[in-house]
């Protein structure tokens, strides 16, 4: 619904094609240099994967491998339980995203548009939890998860992440942009509150839901400590735990490690590129940018 809108807004900065000039060339050369500097570490990582082991960290540097060992990209899958770590990260990530897509917009909408006693206090409490470092609640959390019998299960990895303060905050901010008049009109038409939520609110929140999905997915993909604590068996390890183990493993080589690191980034990169437009629109919503 809103993509054309985004596109229409794209050509901001008040400069039409006619004014494209030396200034623009200069600007893009600068930006291009910046991008090149940014891309260099990737080039280095990729070349490290493809090099024979002896050429990694060699002096002087081998910018290009003497032989291109494309098969090195398969090393993590051949020498470690990498496929399983990937599967676990996916399973946990997708499940957590689904849970959050259910719980966060519901709560955000409720905190924003529906009045009841204690509502604002509840929202403040949710917000305040954003300020607690996660690492420290892991001990009481681990206690709890253990008592629930969820260590070494996917439940232990998924359920505690079932909602997020950030998600609720994001959803509440976004919901603010939905005019009350719209909801009131629907009520006048006799729509129930649930129907309004599902048929009107959720579709309008779609770009913000994309942001939420990306954030939650990324966070999960990045989470190292919690899966390490909960998943004792490597059947339940996620990618970060697997990567940490590879870095520790005595037989590691840099080709394998870099291949694993690069491959671990593929899903998040894909997610980003697919949802990039929604993401920008969603951030604008979250920042409360009214025109």
């Amino acid at each position: 619904m809103s993509l054309q809108g985004v596109e229409a807004e794209r050509s901001a900065a008040g400069l039409s094609g006619a004014t494209a000039s030396a200034g623009w060339v200069f600007r893009f050369v600068l930006l291009g240099l910046g991008a090149a500097a940014l891309a260099l570490p990737f080039a280095y990582a990729i070349s490290t994967v493809l090099k024979p082991a002896a050429e990694a960290l060699s002096v002087p540097i081998h910018w290009l491998p003497s032989r291109f060992l494309w098969a090195n990209f398969l090393l993590p899958f051949q020498q470690t339980n990498y496929g399983r770590y990937f599967f676990n990260s996916f399973l946990v990530g997708v499940s957590v995203v689904i849970l959050n897509l259910i719980t966060c917009p519901l709560a955000g909408y409720s905190f924003c548009k529906l009045r009841y006693p204690g509502r604002d206090l509840l929202f403040l409490v949710v917000l305040a939890t954003l300020m607690i470092p996660l690492e420290v609640i892991y001990v009481p959390l681990y206690d709890l998860v253990f008592k629930l019998g969820w260590t070494n299960t996917y439940w232990g990895l998924i359920i505690p992440a079932g909602t997020s303060a950030f998600g609720i905050f994001l959803m509440r901010q976004t919901t603010m942009a939905i005019p009350d008049e719209l909801l009131d009109a629907a009520r006048m038409d006799g729509a129930s509150e649930w129907r309004i939520y599902i048929r009107i609110v959720l579709p309008l929140l779609r770009p913000a839901l994309a942001v939420l999905a990306i954030f939650i997915f990324m966070n999960n993909w990045d989470s190292l400590l919690w899966p390490l604590l909960v998943a004792g068996k490597d059947n339940y390890w996620t990618l970060p735990v697997g990567l940490a183990a590879m870095q520790n493993n005595n037989e590691v080589n840099f080709s394998l490690l870099m291949a694993a690191a690069l491959e671990a980034s593929v899903p998040t990169l894909v997610v980003y590129f697919l949802l990039q437009r929604y993401f920008v629109a969603g951030i604008a919503l979250a920042a409360g940018l009214q025109g």
């Binding site: 901001a12 008040g14 893009f28 291009g32 991008a35 470092p133 079932g162 005019p179 509150e193 920042a287």
Partner: protein, 311 residues
């Protein structure tokens, strides 16, 4: 103008004045129903929250007043943990290093991101490709980024081969904090570019046209039109920056383990070590409580500053 708010509404360009009709009896019943539905809607999230956030956090606050090593029963020591921390040079180092890391990383990140976003805010294929490159590190996780940079900072790694400085990036107390900052700027700049681009794209075209008609040059337009309009986005960006910076963990954990000495010891790493390596849960909780207080104060301050300025 937000696309999702405007576009569906405006596309249905028909006129309708039904909103002004009187419907007060319906509203009364509606209020009660809405309150009930509101509670029900918040319930799933609140249930998760109560069990997996509020309960552990309350326990953290409680434990900050106890000595607790996970196995023996908790022992009440009042403010003993806080007294210990205030006399602890490692804690002091962690606080200072965290402040240095937050400012050192996010000040340049925000400035760079703003410049890049203004530069990229242009509809062309070149801008599209460049934008994509700038976003790539955002889509990578910290664990992956630190693994890559570990090799880059190696004494025989990319950076040394490029610059021939023979710098001991990760093992020299003066360079290690900078090494973490450089890596973090690389990782984080794209995230803020996204935020600023979103902000820039919400600025209406006609404002620039009006400024151009008034004879303002491009630099003045950016300074006097763009920046003031971006103030709410800047507010969000700094809040993000402070929270992300204060909670930094993976770079220090993976790359330097807080060393050499205490050169890269940061608060979150100290929390982790105190809790899980030293098994001093009470003291770890006390650090968390202090950090909570600091973050809360800073967030409120930031909100106030930005609100005051835009008022």
């Amino acid at each position: 103008m937000m696309p999702s708010r405007r576009s569906p509404v405006e596309r249905e360009g028909r006129a309708g004045r039904g909103l002004s009709a009187p419907w007060s009896p319906l509203r009364l019943r509606g209020h009660q129903e809405r309150a009930l539905v509101g509670v029900l809607m918040a319930l799933p999230a609140l249930a998760f929250f109560a069990a997996f956030a509020i309960y552990p956090i309350l326990r953290v606050f409680y434990l900050s007043l106890f000595e607790y090593n996970l196995t023996s029963p908790e022992r009440w020591i009042g403010l003993g943990n806080f007294a210990y921390l205030f006399a602890d040079p490692t804690f002091k180092a962690a606080v200072v290093n965290t402040a240095v890391y937050v400012v050192g990383t996010y000040l340049p990140t925000i400035v760079l991101a703003l410049l890049i976003a203004i530069g990229l805010n242009h509809r062309s294929h070149v801008a599209g490709v460049l934008r994509t490159i700038y976003f790539v590190p955002v889509a990578m996780t910290w664990v992956v980024v630190t693994i890559m940079w570990h090799l880059i900072y190696n004494r025989f790694g990319l950076l040394d081969q490029l610059l021939h400085l023979h710098t001991n990036w990760l093992t020299d107390g003066t360079w290690a904090p900078l090494a973490l900052i450089i890596m973090s700027v690389w990782k984080e700049v794209g995230f803020f570019v996204i935020i600023f681009l979103a902000g820039l794209q919400s600025i209406r075209h006609d404002i620039y046209e009006a400024a151009a008609v008034d004879g303002a040059g491009p630099l003045r337009i950016q300074l006097h039109v763009t920046l003031p309009l971006l103030r709410p986005v800047l507010a969000v960006a700094t809040i993000f920056a402070v929270i992300r910076g204060m909670q930094a963990f993976t770079p220090q954990y993976v790359l330097t383990d807080g060393g050499p000495g205490d050169a890269t010891q940061v608060i979150n790493l100290l929390v982790y070590k105190t809790a899980f390596v030293y098994a001093e849960m009470g003291r770890a909780s006390a650090i968390a409580v202090l950090m909570f207080g600091a973050l809360l104060v800073m967030t409120l301050l930031q909100l106030r500053i930005f609100r005051a300025r835009s008022a």
